[in-house]
Amino acid sequence: MSTTTATGRKVKTGATLANTVVYLLMIIGGVIMAVPFLWMLSTSLKPDGEVFSYPPQWIPSTFAWDNYKLIFTDAHMIRGFFNTMFVVIPTLVIGLFACALSAYAFAKLRFPGRDKLFMTLVGTMVIPGAVMMIPAFIMFKTFGWTDSWKPLIIPGMFGAPMTIFFFRQFIKQLPDELEDAAKIDGMNPFGIFMKIIIPLTKPALITQGILSFNAGYNDYLGPLIYLNTPEKYTLQLELASFSSYYVTEWTLIMAGAVVALIPTLILFAFAQRFFIEGIALTGIKG
Protein backbone atom coordinates (compact mmCIF):
# COMPACT_ATOMS: atom_id res chain seq x y z
CA MET A 1 0.00 0.00 0.00
CA SER A 2 2.65 2.46 1.05
CA THR A 3 4.92 1.38 -1.85
CA THR A 4 2.14 2.02 -4.33
CA THR A 5 1.71 5.58 -3.13
CA ALA A 6 5.44 6.02 -3.08
CA THR A 7 5.81 4.85 -6.67
CA GLY A 8 2.72 6.77 -7.68
CA ARG A 9 4.15 9.92 -6.22
CA LYS A 10 7.52 9.24 -7.78
CA VAL A 11 6.00 8.85 -11.23
CA LYS A 12 4.06 12.00 -10.70
CA THR A 13 7.10 13.95 -9.59
CA GLY A 14 8.96 12.64 -12.63
CA ALA A 15 6.18 13.83 -14.92
CA THR A 16 6.01 17.20 -13.20
CA LEU A 17 9.76 17.61 -13.52
CA ALA A 18 9.59 16.77 -17.23
CA ASN A 19 6.76 19.24 -17.67
CA THR A 20 8.72 21.92 -15.86
CA VAL A 21 11.71 21.38 -18.14
CA VAL A 22 9.45 21.48 -21.18
CA TYR A 23 7.83 24.68 -19.94
CA LEU A 24 11.19 26.24 -19.33
CA LEU A 25 12.37 25.39 -22.85
CA MET A 26 9.10 26.59 -24.36
CA ILE A 27 9.31 29.85 -22.50
CA ILE A 28 12.87 30.40 -23.74
CA GLY A 29 11.69 29.60 -27.28
CA GLY A 30 8.65 31.83 -26.90
CA VAL A 31 10.81 34.71 -25.70
CA ILE A 32 13.18 34.30 -28.66
CA MET A 33 10.19 34.45 -30.98
CA ALA A 34 8.59 37.39 -29.20
CA VAL A 35 11.60 39.64 -28.61
CA PRO A 36 11.94 40.98 -32.17
CA PHE A 37 8.24 41.87 -32.24
CA LEU A 38 8.30 43.45 -28.78
CA TRP A 39 11.43 45.39 -29.64
CA MET A 40 9.74 46.67 -32.80
CA LEU A 41 6.76 47.78 -30.72
CA SER A 42 8.98 49.37 -28.08
CA THR A 43 11.07 51.26 -30.64
CA SER A 44 8.00 52.44 -32.52
CA LEU A 45 6.70 54.19 -29.41
CA LYS A 46 9.91 55.96 -28.43
CA PRO A 47 10.51 59.66 -28.61
CA ASP A 48 13.25 60.49 -31.07
CA GLY A 49 16.19 60.79 -28.68
CA GLU A 50 15.65 57.52 -26.87
CA VAL A 51 16.28 55.13 -29.75
CA PHE A 52 20.02 55.11 -29.34
CA SER A 53 20.02 55.10 -25.54
CA TYR A 54 22.46 52.74 -23.92
CA PRO A 55 21.64 50.34 -22.32
CA PRO A 56 18.52 49.78 -24.47
CA GLN A 57 15.36 50.96 -22.81
CA TRP A 58 12.45 48.56 -23.16
CA ILE A 59 9.73 50.86 -21.89
CA PRO A 60 9.81 54.33 -23.46
CA SER A 61 9.83 57.19 -20.93
CA THR A 62 6.84 58.69 -22.73
CA PHE A 63 4.80 56.98 -25.41
CA ALA A 64 5.36 58.87 -28.63
CA TRP A 65 2.01 58.19 -30.30
CA ASP A 66 2.91 60.87 -32.81
CA ASN A 67 5.06 58.30 -34.61
CA TYR A 68 1.89 56.41 -35.44
CA LYS A 69 -0.02 59.53 -36.27
CA LEU A 70 2.63 60.25 -38.85
CA ILE A 71 2.37 56.80 -40.40
CA PHE A 72 -1.42 56.67 -40.40
CA THR A 73 -1.63 60.03 -42.14
CA ASP A 74 1.25 59.27 -44.52
CA ALA A 75 -0.29 59.67 -47.94
CA HIS A 76 2.05 57.04 -49.41
CA MET A 77 1.06 54.40 -46.88
CA ILE A 78 -2.64 55.06 -47.35
CA ARG A 79 -2.36 54.98 -51.12
CA GLY A 80 -0.23 51.83 -50.88
CA PHE A 81 -2.86 50.15 -48.73
CA PHE A 82 -5.68 50.86 -51.16
CA ASN A 83 -3.55 49.84 -54.12
CA THR A 84 -2.86 46.54 -52.38
CA MET A 85 -6.57 45.96 -51.78
CA PHE A 86 -7.29 46.75 -55.39
CA VAL A 87 -4.69 44.24 -56.55
CA VAL A 88 -5.51 41.49 -54.08
CA ILE A 89 -9.28 41.36 -53.79
CA PRO A 90 -10.47 40.89 -57.41
CA THR A 91 -7.82 38.22 -57.99
CA LEU A 92 -8.82 36.52 -54.79
CA VAL A 93 -12.55 36.40 -55.48
CA ILE A 94 -12.38 35.41 -59.12
CA GLY A 95 -9.40 33.10 -58.63
CA LEU A 96 -11.07 31.17 -55.81
CA PHE A 97 -14.23 30.83 -57.88
CA ALA A 98 -12.27 29.45 -60.84
CA CYS A 99 -10.38 27.05 -58.58
CA ALA A 100 -13.50 25.75 -56.87
CA LEU A 101 -15.33 25.32 -60.18
CA SER A 102 -12.56 23.29 -61.78
CA ALA A 103 -12.01 21.35 -58.56
CA TYR A 104 -15.69 20.40 -58.63
CA ALA A 105 -15.31 19.15 -62.19
CA PHE A 106 -12.22 17.15 -61.25
CA ALA A 107 -13.87 15.71 -58.16
CA LYS A 108 -17.42 14.93 -59.26
CA LEU A 109 -18.11 15.26 -62.98
CA ARG A 110 -17.37 12.40 -65.36
CA PHE A 111 -15.54 13.18 -68.56
CA PRO A 112 -12.80 11.45 -70.54
CA GLY A 113 -9.21 12.07 -69.45
CA ARG A 114 -10.33 13.76 -66.27
CA ASP A 115 -7.70 12.37 -63.93
CA LYS A 116 -4.90 12.65 -66.46
CA LEU A 117 -5.76 16.29 -67.03
CA PHE A 118 -5.76 16.85 -63.30
CA MET A 119 -2.33 15.27 -62.92
CA THR A 120 -1.01 17.41 -65.78
CA LEU A 121 -2.25 20.53 -64.08
CA VAL A 122 -0.77 19.54 -60.73
CA GLY A 123 2.46 18.51 -62.50
CA THR A 124 3.05 22.08 -63.68
CA MET A 125 3.74 22.96 -60.04
CA VAL A 126 7.23 21.46 -60.38
CA ILE A 127 8.35 24.35 -62.59
CA PRO A 128 10.36 26.52 -60.19
CA GLY A 129 9.03 30.03 -59.75
CA ALA A 130 12.50 31.54 -60.02
CA VAL A 131 12.86 30.12 -63.51
CA MET A 132 9.54 31.72 -64.50
CA MET A 133 10.42 35.19 -63.25
CA ILE A 134 12.32 36.26 -66.38
CA PRO A 135 10.16 34.68 -69.13
CA ALA A 136 6.98 35.94 -67.47
CA PHE A 137 8.41 39.45 -67.36
CA ILE A 138 9.43 39.27 -71.02
CA MET A 139 5.92 38.16 -71.97
CA PHE A 140 4.15 40.84 -69.95
CA LYS A 141 6.47 43.45 -71.34
CA THR A 142 5.56 42.45 -74.90
CA PHE A 143 1.88 42.62 -73.86
CA GLY A 144 2.59 46.16 -72.65
CA TRP A 145 1.48 45.16 -69.15
CA THR A 146 4.57 46.24 -67.22
CA ASP A 147 4.23 49.16 -64.84
CA SER A 148 0.59 48.23 -64.39
CA TRP A 149 -1.29 46.00 -61.98
CA LYS A 150 -2.29 43.61 -64.75
CA PRO A 151 0.51 41.05 -64.25
CA LEU A 152 -0.35 40.98 -60.54
CA ILE A 153 -4.10 40.64 -61.07
CA ILE A 154 -4.90 38.75 -64.25
CA PRO A 155 -2.89 35.47 -64.04
CA GLY A 156 -4.29 34.73 -60.58
CA MET A 157 -7.85 34.93 -61.87
CA PHE A 158 -7.41 31.71 -63.83
CA GLY A 159 -6.83 29.66 -60.71
CA ALA A 160 -3.78 28.07 -59.12
CA PRO A 161 -3.04 24.30 -59.26
CA MET A 162 -2.26 24.14 -55.54
CA THR A 163 -5.62 25.62 -54.56
CA ILE A 164 -7.45 23.39 -57.05
CA PHE A 165 -5.72 20.41 -55.50
CA PHE A 166 -6.86 21.51 -52.05
CA PHE A 167 -10.50 22.06 -53.12
CA ARG A 168 -10.68 18.81 -55.05
CA GLN A 169 -9.60 16.95 -51.95
CA PHE A 170 -12.37 18.66 -50.01
CA ILE A 171 -15.14 18.28 -52.58
CA LYS A 172 -14.36 14.60 -53.10
CA GLN A 173 -15.37 13.89 -49.52
CA LEU A 174 -18.81 15.43 -49.97
CA PRO A 175 -21.64 12.85 -50.26
CA ASP A 176 -23.19 12.38 -53.73
CA GLU A 177 -26.81 12.19 -52.54
CA LEU A 178 -27.61 15.91 -52.59
CA GLU A 179 -26.13 16.26 -56.05
CA ASP A 180 -28.04 13.24 -57.33
CA ALA A 181 -31.29 14.66 -56.00
CA ALA A 182 -30.61 17.96 -57.75
CA LYS A 183 -29.71 16.14 -60.96
CA ILE A 184 -33.05 14.32 -60.91
CA ASP A 185 -34.72 17.72 -60.47
CA GLY A 186 -33.06 18.67 -63.74
CA MET A 187 -30.46 21.05 -62.35
CA ASN A 188 -27.40 21.45 -64.56
CA PRO A 189 -23.85 21.09 -63.17
CA PHE A 190 -23.38 24.83 -62.89
CA GLY A 191 -26.57 25.13 -60.84
CA ILE A 192 -25.45 22.25 -58.65
CA PHE A 193 -22.11 23.95 -58.14
CA MET A 194 -23.68 27.27 -57.18
CA LYS A 195 -26.52 25.98 -55.04
CA ILE A 196 -25.06 22.86 -53.43
CA ILE A 197 -21.28 22.65 -53.72
CA ILE A 198 -20.40 26.25 -52.84
CA PRO A 199 -22.35 26.29 -49.54
CA LEU A 200 -20.86 22.93 -48.53
CA THR A 201 -17.33 24.03 -49.43
CA LYS A 202 -17.43 27.17 -47.32
CA PRO A 203 -14.79 26.09 -44.76
CA ALA A 204 -12.30 25.28 -47.53
CA LEU A 205 -13.11 28.54 -49.31
CA ILE A 206 -12.54 30.53 -46.15
CA THR A 207 -9.24 28.75 -45.48
CA GLN A 208 -7.89 29.36 -48.96
CA GLY A 209 -9.34 32.87 -49.03
CA ILE A 210 -7.44 33.79 -45.88
CA LEU A 211 -4.21 32.19 -47.04
CA SER A 212 -4.30 33.85 -50.43
CA PHE A 213 -5.32 37.21 -49.03
CA ASN A 214 -2.37 37.12 -46.69
CA ALA A 215 0.01 35.96 -49.41
CA GLY A 216 -1.22 38.71 -51.74
CA TYR A 217 -1.04 41.35 -49.04
CA ASN A 218 2.56 40.36 -48.23
CA ASP A 219 3.70 39.93 -51.82
CA TYR A 220 6.83 41.95 -52.46
CA LEU A 221 8.55 40.32 -55.41
CA GLY A 222 5.68 40.71 -57.90
CA PRO A 223 5.17 44.44 -57.31
CA LEU A 224 8.96 44.93 -57.19
CA ILE A 225 9.38 43.47 -60.66
CA TYR A 226 6.37 45.00 -62.37
CA LEU A 227 5.69 48.40 -60.80
CA ASN A 228 7.82 51.46 -61.48
CA THR A 229 5.50 54.42 -60.98
CA PRO A 230 5.25 55.31 -57.26
CA GLU A 231 1.52 56.05 -57.66
CA LYS A 232 0.97 52.36 -58.36
CA TYR A 233 3.08 51.01 -55.48
CA THR A 234 1.48 48.48 -53.17
CA LEU A 235 1.85 48.75 -49.41
CA GLN A 236 4.84 46.40 -49.25
CA LEU A 237 6.73 48.43 -51.84
CA GLU A 238 5.95 51.64 -49.98
CA LEU A 239 7.17 50.01 -46.81
CA ALA A 240 10.39 48.84 -48.48
CA SER A 241 11.14 52.32 -49.80
CA PHE A 242 10.38 53.57 -46.30
CA SER A 243 13.64 52.37 -44.80
CA SER A 244 15.67 54.08 -47.49
CA TYR A 245 13.58 57.21 -47.06
CA TYR A 246 13.85 57.50 -43.29
CA VAL A 247 17.37 55.95 -43.12
CA THR A 248 18.11 55.96 -39.39
CA GLU A 249 14.79 57.16 -38.04
CA TRP A 250 14.16 53.80 -36.48
CA THR A 251 11.10 54.96 -34.54
CA LEU A 252 9.27 55.72 -37.77
CA ILE A 253 10.57 52.66 -39.59
CA MET A 254 9.37 50.42 -36.75
CA ALA A 255 6.01 52.20 -36.56
CA GLY A 256 5.66 51.56 -40.29
CA ALA A 257 6.43 47.88 -39.78
CA VAL A 258 3.84 47.66 -36.99
CA VAL A 259 1.17 49.32 -39.09
CA ALA A 260 1.91 47.07 -42.05
CA LEU A 261 1.65 43.99 -39.83
CA ILE A 262 -1.66 44.99 -38.22
CA PRO A 263 -4.01 43.57 -40.90
CA THR A 264 -2.15 40.25 -40.88
CA LEU A 265 -2.16 40.06 -37.10
CA ILE A 266 -5.87 40.85 -36.87
CA LEU A 267 -6.61 38.22 -39.50
CA PHE A 268 -4.46 35.71 -37.65
CA ALA A 269 -6.05 36.48 -34.29
CA PHE A 270 -9.51 35.73 -35.63
CA ALA A 271 -8.71 32.95 -38.06
CA GLN A 272 -5.74 31.15 -36.53
CA ARG A 273 -7.51 27.82 -36.91
CA PHE A 274 -7.93 28.30 -40.67
CA PHE A 275 -4.29 29.23 -41.17
CA ILE A 276 -3.04 26.21 -39.30
CA GLU A 277 -5.52 23.71 -40.73
CA GLY A 278 -4.95 25.00 -44.22
CA ILE A 279 -1.23 24.50 -43.95
CA ALA A 280 -1.41 21.13 -42.20
CA LEU A 281 -3.82 19.79 -44.85
CA THR A 282 -1.79 21.00 -47.80
CA GLY A 283 1.35 19.52 -46.32
CA ILE A 284 0.00 16.13 -45.47
CA LYS A 285 -2.01 15.49 -48.58
CA GLY A 286 0.53 17.06 -50.89
Binding site: M26, M33, F37, P55, S102, R110, M139, P161, Y220
Partner: protein, 302 residues
Protein backbone atom coordinates in the same frame (compact mmCIF):
# COMPACT_ATOMS: atom_id res chain seq x y z
CA UNK B 1 -37.75 -4.23 -72.71
CA UNK B 2 -38.16 -0.77 -74.18
CA UNK B 3 -37.51 0.75 -70.79
CA UNK B 4 -34.26 -1.13 -70.72
CA UNK B 5 -33.06 0.36 -73.99
CA UNK B 6 -34.17 3.89 -73.15
CA UNK B 7 -32.44 4.04 -69.81
CA UNK B 8 -28.80 3.64 -70.92
CA UNK B 9 -29.41 6.03 -73.81
CA UNK B 10 -30.64 8.70 -71.43
CA UNK B 11 -27.74 8.08 -69.11
CA UNK B 12 -25.38 8.44 -72.04
CA UNK B 13 -26.80 11.81 -73.06
CA UNK B 14 -26.55 13.03 -69.49
CA UNK B 15 -22.97 11.86 -69.47
CA UNK B 16 -22.24 13.68 -72.67
CA UNK B 17 -23.57 16.98 -71.43
CA UNK B 18 -21.65 16.44 -68.20
CA UNK B 19 -18.54 16.07 -70.32
CA UNK B 20 -18.97 19.50 -71.90
CA UNK B 21 -19.70 21.09 -68.54
CA UNK B 22 -16.57 19.42 -67.20
CA UNK B 23 -14.38 20.75 -70.00
CA UNK B 24 -15.89 24.20 -69.57
CA UNK B 25 -15.20 24.21 -65.84
CA UNK B 26 -11.59 23.15 -66.12
CA UNK B 27 -10.85 25.46 -69.06
CA UNK B 28 -9.80 28.57 -67.06
CA UNK B 29 -6.87 26.97 -65.16
CA UNK B 30 -5.66 25.28 -68.35
CA UNK B 31 -5.79 28.52 -70.29
CA UNK B 32 -3.96 30.18 -67.41
CA UNK B 33 -1.25 27.53 -67.33
CA UNK B 34 -0.81 27.55 -71.10
CA UNK B 35 -0.60 31.31 -71.45
CA UNK B 36 1.15 32.35 -68.27
CA UNK B 37 3.33 29.31 -67.63
CA UNK B 38 4.02 26.98 -70.53
CA UNK B 39 4.30 29.57 -73.30
CA UNK B 40 6.83 31.77 -71.45
CA UNK B 41 8.58 28.65 -70.17
CA UNK B 42 9.22 27.34 -73.68
CA UNK B 43 9.91 30.81 -75.02
CA UNK B 44 12.59 31.36 -72.41
CA UNK B 45 14.45 28.29 -73.65
CA UNK B 46 14.70 29.97 -77.04
CA UNK B 47 15.63 33.31 -75.45
CA UNK B 48 18.47 31.66 -73.58
CA UNK B 49 20.22 31.06 -76.92
CA UNK B 50 19.94 34.71 -77.98
CA UNK B 51 21.17 38.15 -76.99
CA UNK B 52 17.63 39.41 -76.36
CA UNK B 53 17.52 42.63 -74.33
CA UNK B 54 14.33 44.43 -75.53
CA UNK B 55 16.55 46.78 -77.53
CA UNK B 56 18.16 45.94 -80.87
CA UNK B 57 17.05 42.76 -82.65
CA UNK B 58 18.25 39.64 -80.85
CA UNK B 59 21.02 37.55 -82.35
CA UNK B 60 20.97 33.81 -82.14
CA UNK B 61 24.24 32.95 -80.43
CA UNK B 62 23.84 29.26 -79.69
CA UNK B 63 25.22 28.16 -76.35
CA UNK B 64 27.24 31.35 -75.86
CA UNK B 65 25.14 32.47 -72.88
CA UNK B 66 25.59 29.13 -71.16
CA UNK B 67 29.28 29.14 -71.90
CA UNK B 68 29.60 32.62 -70.46
CA UNK B 69 27.70 31.62 -67.30
CA UNK B 70 29.75 28.51 -66.70
CA UNK B 71 33.21 29.65 -67.68
CA UNK B 72 33.38 33.39 -67.80
CA UNK B 73 31.31 34.78 -64.96
CA UNK B 74 32.80 34.16 -61.51
CA UNK B 75 29.75 35.71 -59.89
CA UNK B 76 27.62 32.79 -61.06
CA UNK B 77 29.74 30.40 -59.03
CA UNK B 78 30.13 32.72 -56.11
CA UNK B 79 26.39 33.30 -55.82
CA UNK B 80 25.67 29.61 -56.35
CA UNK B 81 28.03 28.82 -53.48
CA UNK B 82 26.29 31.50 -51.37
CA UNK B 83 22.96 29.87 -52.15
CA UNK B 84 24.11 26.48 -50.91
CA UNK B 85 25.66 28.08 -47.86
CA UNK B 86 22.35 29.80 -47.10
CA UNK B 87 20.55 26.48 -47.61
CA UNK B 88 22.41 25.16 -44.54
CA UNK B 89 19.58 26.87 -42.70
CA UNK B 90 17.26 24.10 -43.96
CA UNK B 91 18.62 21.19 -41.89
CA UNK B 92 19.12 23.47 -38.88
CA UNK B 93 15.57 24.71 -39.09
CA UNK B 94 14.23 21.15 -39.53
CA UNK B 95 16.05 19.82 -36.46
CA UNK B 96 14.95 22.72 -34.27
CA UNK B 97 11.39 22.39 -35.58
CA UNK B 98 11.32 18.70 -34.74
CA UNK B 99 12.62 19.33 -31.22
CA UNK B 100 9.98 21.99 -30.66
CA UNK B 101 7.26 19.75 -32.08
CA UNK B 102 8.36 16.93 -29.75
CA UNK B 103 8.17 19.31 -26.80
CA UNK B 104 4.75 20.56 -27.85
CA UNK B 105 3.44 17.05 -28.51
CA UNK B 106 1.98 16.58 -25.06
CA UNK B 107 -1.03 17.77 -23.11
CA UNK B 108 0.48 21.01 -22.03
CA UNK B 109 -1.39 24.07 -20.91
CA UNK B 110 -0.59 26.91 -23.28
CA UNK B 111 0.41 24.53 -26.07
CA UNK B 112 -1.60 26.50 -28.63
CA UNK B 113 -0.08 29.74 -27.47
CA UNK B 114 3.47 28.48 -28.01
CA UNK B 115 2.55 26.96 -31.36
CA UNK B 116 1.13 30.32 -32.37
CA UNK B 117 4.31 32.14 -31.32
CA UNK B 118 6.48 29.91 -33.51
CA UNK B 119 4.06 30.27 -36.38
CA UNK B 120 3.73 34.04 -36.24
CA UNK B 121 6.67 35.05 -38.50
CA UNK B 122 5.41 32.69 -41.23
CA UNK B 123 2.45 34.94 -41.95
CA UNK B 124 4.21 38.28 -41.51
CA UNK B 125 5.41 40.40 -44.39
CA UNK B 126 9.07 39.83 -45.20
CA UNK B 127 9.52 43.55 -45.70
CA UNK B 128 8.44 44.27 -42.13
CA UNK B 129 10.47 41.37 -40.71
CA UNK B 130 13.55 42.55 -42.58
CA UNK B 131 13.14 46.01 -41.08
CA UNK B 132 12.91 44.53 -37.57
CA UNK B 133 15.97 42.35 -38.05
CA UNK B 134 18.04 45.12 -39.58
CA UNK B 135 17.41 47.02 -36.40
CA UNK B 136 18.23 44.03 -34.19
CA UNK B 137 21.42 43.27 -36.11
CA UNK B 138 22.45 46.93 -36.18
CA UNK B 139 26.15 46.99 -35.37
CA UNK B 140 26.20 50.01 -33.06
CA UNK B 141 22.76 50.21 -31.48
CA UNK B 142 21.27 46.77 -32.16
CA UNK B 143 19.69 44.76 -29.39
CA UNK B 144 21.68 41.65 -30.23
CA UNK B 145 25.09 43.26 -29.96
CA UNK B 146 24.15 44.99 -26.73
CA UNK B 147 23.36 41.69 -25.02
CA UNK B 148 26.31 39.90 -26.62
CA UNK B 149 28.75 42.52 -25.36
CA UNK B 150 27.08 42.34 -21.93
CA UNK B 151 28.11 38.69 -21.99
CA UNK B 152 31.68 39.84 -22.54
CA UNK B 153 31.78 38.90 -26.23
CA UNK B 154 33.09 41.05 -29.01
CA UNK B 155 30.25 40.74 -31.54
CA UNK B 156 30.72 41.29 -35.28
CA UNK B 157 28.92 43.95 -37.29
CA UNK B 158 26.60 41.24 -38.68
CA UNK B 159 24.85 42.48 -41.81
CA UNK B 160 27.67 44.81 -42.85
CA UNK B 161 30.48 42.33 -42.19
CA UNK B 162 31.37 40.22 -45.20
CA UNK B 163 32.23 37.22 -43.02
CA UNK B 164 29.11 37.32 -40.88
CA UNK B 165 26.33 38.71 -43.06
CA UNK B 166 25.25 35.35 -44.46
CA UNK B 167 25.34 33.78 -41.02
CA UNK B 168 23.06 36.54 -39.74
CA UNK B 169 20.62 35.93 -42.58
CA UNK B 170 20.61 32.22 -41.77
CA UNK B 171 19.73 33.03 -38.14
CA UNK B 172 16.88 35.21 -39.35
CA UNK B 173 15.72 32.44 -41.67
CA UNK B 174 15.69 29.78 -38.97
CA UNK B 175 13.85 32.11 -36.59
CA UNK B 176 11.23 32.91 -39.20
CA UNK B 177 10.96 29.64 -41.07
CA UNK B 178 9.90 27.04 -38.53
CA UNK B 179 6.16 27.66 -38.38
CA UNK B 180 5.04 25.36 -41.17
CA UNK B 181 7.38 22.49 -40.33
CA UNK B 182 6.36 22.54 -36.64
CA UNK B 183 2.71 22.26 -37.63
CA UNK B 184 3.43 19.42 -40.06
CA UNK B 185 5.62 17.61 -37.51
CA UNK B 186 2.95 17.95 -34.83
CA UNK B 187 0.39 16.41 -37.16
CA UNK B 188 2.81 13.61 -38.07
CA UNK B 189 3.70 12.85 -34.45
CA UNK B 190 0.01 12.50 -33.66
CA UNK B 191 -0.33 9.95 -36.46
CA UNK B 192 2.32 7.51 -35.22
CA UNK B 193 0.25 4.61 -33.80
CA UNK B 194 0.47 4.57 -30.01
CA UNK B 195 0.33 0.76 -30.08
CA UNK B 196 3.91 0.78 -31.39
CA UNK B 197 5.11 2.76 -28.38
CA UNK B 198 3.18 0.50 -26.01
CA UNK B 199 4.73 -2.60 -27.54
CA UNK B 200 8.18 -1.05 -27.25
CA UNK B 201 7.58 -0.15 -23.60
CA UNK B 202 6.63 -3.78 -22.93
CA UNK B 203 9.90 -4.82 -24.56
CA UNK B 204 11.70 -2.48 -22.20
CA UNK B 205 12.84 0.08 -24.78
CA UNK B 206 13.95 3.44 -23.42
CA UNK B 207 12.86 6.87 -24.61
CA UNK B 208 15.80 7.38 -26.95
CA UNK B 209 15.37 3.96 -28.57
CA UNK B 210 11.68 4.61 -29.08
CA UNK B 211 12.50 7.93 -30.70
CA UNK B 212 15.07 6.42 -33.08
CA UNK B 213 13.22 3.24 -33.98
CA UNK B 214 9.58 4.35 -33.90
CA UNK B 215 9.24 8.12 -34.09
CA UNK B 216 11.91 8.87 -36.70
CA UNK B 217 10.75 6.25 -39.23
CA UNK B 218 7.10 7.02 -38.43
CA UNK B 219 7.41 10.67 -39.35
CA UNK B 220 9.89 10.16 -42.20
CA UNK B 221 7.38 10.94 -44.99
CA UNK B 222 6.73 14.35 -43.45
CA UNK B 223 10.45 14.90 -42.91
CA UNK B 224 10.93 14.19 -46.60
CA UNK B 225 8.12 16.53 -47.62
CA UNK B 226 9.50 19.33 -45.44
CA UNK B 227 13.02 18.72 -46.75
CA UNK B 228 11.99 18.88 -50.40
CA UNK B 229 9.74 21.93 -50.09
CA UNK B 230 12.27 23.78 -47.93
CA UNK B 231 15.12 22.99 -50.32
CA UNK B 232 13.13 24.19 -53.31
CA UNK B 233 12.32 27.35 -51.38
CA UNK B 234 15.89 27.89 -50.16
CA UNK B 235 17.48 27.42 -53.59
CA UNK B 236 15.20 30.12 -55.01
CA UNK B 237 15.18 32.45 -52.03
CA UNK B 238 16.14 36.05 -52.53
CA UNK B 239 13.76 38.86 -51.43
CA UNK B 240 15.01 38.32 -47.86
CA UNK B 241 18.58 38.91 -49.00
CA UNK B 242 17.69 41.94 -51.05
CA UNK B 243 15.81 43.50 -48.13
CA UNK B 244 18.32 42.69 -45.39
CA UNK B 245 21.65 43.44 -47.05
CA UNK B 246 21.05 44.32 -50.68
CA UNK B 247 23.27 41.32 -51.47
CA UNK B 248 26.39 42.82 -49.96
CA UNK B 249 28.92 43.38 -48.66
CA UNK B 250 30.92 42.42 -51.74
CA UNK B 251 28.24 40.01 -53.03
CA UNK B 252 28.64 37.87 -49.90
CA UNK B 253 24.86 37.57 -49.51
CA UNK B 254 23.82 37.58 -53.16
CA UNK B 255 22.10 34.29 -53.93
CA UNK B 256 22.00 32.97 -57.45
CA UNK B 257 18.38 33.96 -58.01
CA UNK B 258 19.19 37.41 -56.68
CA UNK B 259 22.04 37.59 -59.18
CA UNK B 260 19.63 36.47 -61.90
CA UNK B 261 17.30 39.28 -60.89
CA UNK B 262 20.15 41.80 -61.10
CA UNK B 263 21.18 40.68 -64.58
CA UNK B 264 17.63 40.84 -65.83
CA UNK B 265 16.31 43.99 -64.20
CA UNK B 266 19.40 46.10 -63.67
CA UNK B 267 21.37 45.19 -66.80
CA UNK B 268 18.39 44.13 -68.94
CA UNK B 269 20.37 41.20 -70.37
CA UNK B 270 17.31 39.03 -70.84
CA UNK B 271 18.97 36.40 -73.02
CA UNK B 272 21.77 35.84 -70.57
CA UNK B 273 19.32 35.91 -67.65
CA UNK B 274 17.19 33.26 -69.37
CA UNK B 275 20.22 31.01 -69.66
CA UNK B 276 21.01 31.44 -65.97
CA UNK B 277 17.37 30.76 -65.10
CA UNK B 278 17.56 27.45 -66.95
CA UNK B 279 20.85 26.67 -65.27
CA UNK B 280 19.22 27.25 -61.86
CA UNK B 281 16.18 25.21 -62.86
CA UNK B 282 18.40 22.28 -63.82
CA UNK B 283 20.31 22.50 -60.54
CA UNK B 284 17.07 22.50 -58.55
CA UNK B 285 15.75 19.50 -60.48
CA UNK B 286 19.05 17.71 -59.93
CA UNK B 287 19.02 18.35 -56.16
CA UNK B 288 15.42 17.11 -55.95
CA UNK B 289 16.19 14.03 -58.02
CA UNK B 290 19.11 13.11 -55.76
CA UNK B 291 16.89 13.52 -52.74
CA UNK B 292 14.20 11.31 -54.24
CA UNK B 293 16.78 8.62 -54.94
CA UNK B 294 18.25 8.87 -51.45
CA UNK B 295 14.78 8.88 -49.90
CA UNK B 296 14.32 5.20 -50.74
CA UNK B 297 16.86 4.46 -48.02
CA UNK B 298 15.29 6.40 -45.19
CA UNK B 299 11.66 7.23 -45.91
CA UNK B 300 9.19 4.62 -44.71
CA UNK B 301 5.64 4.66 -46.02
CA UNK B 302 3.58 2.16 -44.08
Amino acid sequence: MSANTVKPAKKKSLYRSEMWWGFLFIAPPFIGVLVFLLYPFVNSLYMSFTTFNFGQPADFTGVANYKRALTNDPLVWKTLWNTFYAALGVPVSMIVSLIIALLLDRKLRGRNFFRMMFFLPTICSMVALAMIWQWIFNADFGLLNYYLSELGLNPPAWLVDEKWAMFAIIIQGVWGGMGVSIILYLAALGNVPSSLYEAATVDGAGGWNKFIHITVPGISPVTFFVLITSLIGALQDFPRFQLLTGGGPNYSTTTIVYYLYTIAFEYSEMGYASAIAWFIGIIIMFVILINFLLSKRWVHYN
